[in-house]
């Protein structure tokens, strides 16, 4: 009968790749058997084990690449665990907030011109009368400034060290 193996060593068979030839090419006229012919000549037990190991390898590879979200959700937190975590996170946030002081430049500093800024900020906005007053006055001032002229009264260039006549 055509037994493909020189020795009945199943462990060697499990380690080999599925596409690798099962026997070495010692005979010149031997053609490697692939596909279904390969399994047709193998013992049934060995064939099933080979397929199972390959299937396990594929499954293992898929498991390492997949994050099972449903499995994570199934690990529901108990009430006390939830409270413990909330307390831990709160304490860490408090440490960050009240921890080492940040440089003063990172804080918004109000000007010191107002002793009670909230009273000023809560007041009414600038009245329309004031806006009209300053706008009209500025326009009139520009018109009035057009009349200003520089009158020449004395020499603009003065020579130092020259005797005055």
């Amino acid at each position: 009968m055509g037994c493909c193996f020189g020795k009945d060593d199943d462990s060697k068979l499990l380690d080999t790749d599925s596409n690798a030839p099962l026997i070495e090419e010692r005979d010149a006229g031997y053609r490697p058997i692939r596909g279904s012919d390969q399994f047709s000549q193998s013992p049934n037990g060995v064939q099933i084990g080979d397929q199972q190991s390959e299937l396990n390898k594929v499954l293992q590879r898929a498991v390492t690449n997949v994050i099972d979200v449903s499995a994570i959700d199934s690990q529901a937190l108990e009430q006390h665990e939830y409270m413990d975590r909330a307390r831990t996170y709160s304490s860490r946030v408090a440490v960050v907030v009240t921890g080492p002081k940040k440089p003063l430049s990172s804080f918004l500093r109000l000007p010191k011109g107002v002793s009670m800024p909230y009273s000023v900020l809560s007041e009414e906005p600038v009245s329309v009368d004031d806006i009209n007053l300053i706008t009209q006055t500025a326009a009139d001032a520009w018109k009035a400034s057009q009349d200003i002229q520089v009158t020449h009264k004395e020499n603009l260039v003065v020579q130092f060290g020259m005797p005055q006549n």
Binding site: E123, A139, A141
Partner: protein, 92 residues
Amino acid sequence: MEQNLDKLLDDTMEGPGVMGVICADKQGLCYSAKGTVSVGSAGIIASLSQQAALLVPESSSAPVICLESDKGNVLIKTHQDVTIAIHKMPTY
């Protein structure tokens, strides 16, 4: 001459709550000052108005600046190349 500008500032001083008026050119040269304002503040108000105008560059006119404090409000406005500031107490 400058009589028109002086008269304008005098008339402005007559307004309710007005305590001081100053007028300056765009380079901070004081044209005239009346009341509580200092002549030396002309350069500051001119520069402040120019900086405030940079906040809204797409606007065709300079903004009205209002400095509020316990000692009254200072209104600043630039028209063309003339800046004017009015120190007045808020009226309600």
